[in-house]
């Protein structure tokens, strides 16, 4: 399974939705994921890929990790996974 599909599965599980209902354009707000749900999703992603996601809930805009929508999250995770294997 691709990084993208694995991230979407994790986000879908958090949102209690089918993965097919999660699009790259969906925002966390669209999916009903609140701030606690976000940190839980990031934890699940870190566990799944064994990576560290540079995300601080106090200043999400300042973090070097874009959570604007599912697409930016997937891109961020793909980059982190690639760096890990570099």
């Amino acid at each position: 399974m691709s990084v993208k599909d694995r991230v979407i599965n994790i986000i879908a599980e958090q949102a209690v939705l089918e993965p097919s209902d999660v699009t790259m354009e969906s925002t966390l707000e669209d999916l009903g994921i609140d701030s606690l749900g976000l940190v839980e999703s990031i934890f699940a992603i870190e566990e799944a890929f064994d990576i560290q996601v540079p995300f601080n809930a106090n200043e999400p805009q300042e973090s070097d990790f874009d959570i604007s929508n599912v697409g930016t999250i997937v891109a961020g995770i793909e980059k982190l996974v690639a760096e890990q294997h570099a």
């Binding site: 606690l36 940190v39 839980e40 990031i42 934890f43 870190e46 566990e47």
Partner: protein, 402 residues
Amino acid sequence: MKRVVITGAGTINALGHSVAETMEAMREGRCGIGELEMRDVDRLSIRIGGQVKGFEAEGEFNRQQIALYDRFTQFTLHAAKEALAQSGLEFHGELAAKAGVVLGTAGGGVSTWDENYRTVYEEGKNRVHPFVVPKLMNNAAASHVSMTYNLKGPSFTVSTACASSNHAMAQAFQMVRHGMSTAMVTGGSESMLCFGGVKAWEGLRVMSKDACRPFSANRNGMVQGEGAGIFVFEEMEHAKARGAEILAEVVGFAMTSDAADIVMPSKQGAARAITGAMADARINPAEVGYINAHGTGTAANDKTECAAVADAFGQHADNLMISSTKSMHGHLIGGTGAVELLACIMALRDGVIAPTIGYEEPDPECALDVVPNEAREARVEVALSNAFAFGGLNAVLALRRV
């Protein structure tokens, strides 16, 4: 001052998952203490406890709730559901704005600490789940009760070791009595039956390896329990006006501190709390028919408690009944006073005195009527509930039959 009554009760403990099951077990003198079932039990030297069996969080809470609820919070919400349903109260508007929840717990989310210490120390992982803090905090249970039932008034958690629940219920009582709130949810819970929780108690060398036998000459220590007891305390006229079933009246309380020793109990501190509760309730000592003892089954507590009762009551100490239900459900530590309040309610409302089971040999230093081994029928007008904590913090509640 307002009069305060109990209009709802709920529990989960080693004797049952409800008040009815628990009281039935108390009437039958059934023992809920057995072999502990937990990870690494073979590394414990103490392997018995009053464990809650057959409780499946999955059937009661959704996945997101389970991720946030430590076992002590799960017990609390289970018991609160029963208590609130019995009371029939729903919290809206002004009632909700002033109603709160005051709970006792000594350890809070002990198993959450335990599991996550394992993760970082034993397994060497460098990451823990983001909900560790909101799960383990001592006020988690009180906060979730407030959120579940829309309680927007004063809510907090009291932590005074083995007296936590009695101190908490005393606070709730005060708030209703003085008109701060029309109704308060109160009680307490504990869930320390995990490897680290039992190991800590082992260290103190006060635990029994075979049974909790309060007041018996051959007693050899305490046995841990777990669970919750939750009550609705309500202003009496409010309860009557809506036709609520009244279980008992809370008439007084007192708290004292020994200011002496971090673990050894004091006769004077305990006696002052008992006498103080009777004075606060304006009751004559001769009216007291039953005392739910702290009765831990340790050498020190039981003889000190009996001496305190003898001092506080004089000759009447020989006429009243005093029993320790810890012999059946174990010592729920911060939750213990809440579950034990059920024995007081049963004595007052049903006229049934819960026994001290496991009683084998009279102890001249505990020469009171401890209702050995079998429940007894008796009409009781006033009952007291004792709690004497490590650290010398004592809290005694007085209840009256309605």
